[in-house]
């Protein structure tokens, strides 16, 4: 524990024989400082290894150059893609991303939002449209730009960038109905705190009902988004309902688990059983069999979010914008004509 402290802006000012105000300007608006002076300051900064204090800067300027995001989990490739692109958009503009995750719990999300807000952020992005009312209240009090990702609702009073999950569910179900499937099973993520999961599910039921098909409760399993859980779930489903010919999975991770269970039972896909995923993760097209799934525009949601937030900050505005992206059905090798 040595005693030499980190240099401050005052040390730099002294060394460069200017005021702290000028050093500050040199850092933030270099063109307002005479080139000659600028050089002296730059040299002093280098000599002293000066690193500005973010805390002091944030306190004085009331800006943190930090954007907060709360996602359900980063442990799913699909959110990683969104985050990676969000981050790279922000980094380019010299902003940093402060990332938190809620573990798919709305209460935990609220806690994380509060923590981010307290820490100080200039903008915030969340996933989904459903949040605790306190989340909205807390964010609005701060008057910072805010956007919901992975959701599109034309009637939302908040900005959103995403796609229509009901429509996506419709497409998936219609594809299977076209293939003559009548006996469906569903392996969904937990829907309680997850509006995306819920809406996809509704979309599927909606289409089935339109086709005069019903799907009893016992053929619907909700589980954690893990390969292993889905594997177990498909076994349970088929133990009780061997008549099922098509299983709609809440995302690709679940579908991979379902595929592995089908393999364990020596059930051929898609001949005896059709399976669908959701998201279109990078590896999906390289697996065998390649999944029929819905392509979620995960990267574009991240880039657009960065763009939106930065624009609002720059304009000091809080415009509500709603951007609908496409999420098309991608038909590959795990869906086929229903047997018998």
């Amino acid at each position: 524990m040595m005693e030499n402290k980190s240099p401050t802006i005052a040390d730099v000012a002294q060394q460069a024989e200017v005021s702290t105000a000028t050093v500050s300007r040199c850092l933030n608006q270099p063109d307002k400082v005479k080139p000659e002076v600028r050089e002296r300051i730059s040299k002093a900064i280098k000599d002293l290894d000066y690193v500005p204090s973010g805390a002091a800067r944030a306190l004085a300027s009331r800006r943190t150059y930090t954007i907060g995001a709360v996602v359900p989990t980063i442990d799913n490739a699909i959110f990683s893609e969104t985050i990676q692109h969000l981050q790279s958009g922000l980094t380019q503009a010299n902003y940093t991303l402060l990332l938190a995750n809620s573990g798919y719990s709305l209460d935990e999300e609220l806690r994380e939002v509060r923590s981010l807000l307290s820490r100080g952020i200039d903008g915030i992005v969340l996933v989904g449209e459903m949040h605790r009312p306190e989340v909205f209240a807390a964010i609005e009090q701060q008057k910072i730009p805010y956007v919901n990702l992975w959701t599109y609702n034309p009637d939302s009073q908040y900005s959103c960038i995403g796609f229509d999950h009901i429509k996506a569910g419709n497409h998936l179900a219609e594809h299977l109905i076209d293939l003559n499937h009548k006996e469906f099973g569903i392996i969904s993520g937990f829907q309680e705190d997850n509006d995306r999961a819920l809406l996809r599910y509704r979309g599927i039921r909606q289409s089935l009902e339109r086709a005069g098909l019903n799907i009893p409760e016992s053929r619907i399993i909700q589980c954690r988004y893990s390969v292993e859980q889905a594997n177990i779930s498909l076994h349970q489903l088929l133990d009780k309902h061997p008549e099922i010919t098509a299983v709609v999975c809440g995302n690709d991770v679940l579908a991979i688990g379902a595929l592995s269970a089908a393999r364990e039972r020596n059930i051929s896909v898609p001949e005896q059983l059709s399976i669908t995923g959701f998201d279109n993760m990078e590896i999906i097209p390289f697996l065998s069999p390649a999944l029929t799934t819905v392509n979620a525009p995960s990267r574009r949601m991240g880039s657009h979010a960065a763009e939106y937030i930065l624009k609002q900050i720059e304009n000091k505005s809080l415009d509500v914008e709603r951007l609908e992206l496409n999420a098309e059905l991608i038909i590959r090798d795990t869906t086929g004509q229903a047997q018998k």
Copy 2:
């Protein structure tokens, strides 16, 4: 744009009829405040919707309750697992993780480290042992705890938590040698800024040489860690070297790409070609064929890192600790006896 500002600690103090010092104490060391007073303050905080300013707190206390981490990418499930566990360990202690990524570039890593340091962090974790010298210099100046993850070197002068990549490479190669393979190919990640990739590679070569086997440059391809790149790479490798019977891949992602290419060529795995991965991502055991790979203790590295950093902060110490974790070979279905 309304004019009402966010409440400050002074507002709370006034409302509760105490000094700001007492409010501060109530927030940070509640037991030092009389319960009755504490209640008044809590009420005032609720009534006013008071959120403390992280910036002011950090500036005054010289602590940010934030830990920084720079990883190569979050867009790889294996780092996500490390981060997830690091984060959850920190969150439990009321610390926040500030996450940056370097895109596997050491220069970018340096930039990110500087940015984190400037922003203010109480500890930092990096991946690998190889960093720009300025990284070490900048961190040491701040006198904050620091640990290298995903690496273990008993002679390192810095703390590290990880495993021995050379040894892991040895195991992989020895397994294939035992299966009588003599014609090897390697698909590695770029080794220039990645000591883990380099060391694994060295471990493989080392074992091959011990067995009297050599592997010409033309059978070694370095590429980005993407399924698609690995797919292309295996095609290239086999076009030039149809004699190859075993391909060692730098990680599971690459191995999945290689598997897909083998499938496209109608080469059966492992009968005609053995393929190995590295990491043992969650989905691997559920794929078909399931990969032979090395289990990287990704989650444990994250948890241990959180534990180490928090302990150093608590003790106000900067002890160097080196923790070696196990990375065992997991033999599954993609490796078999060499043909002919």
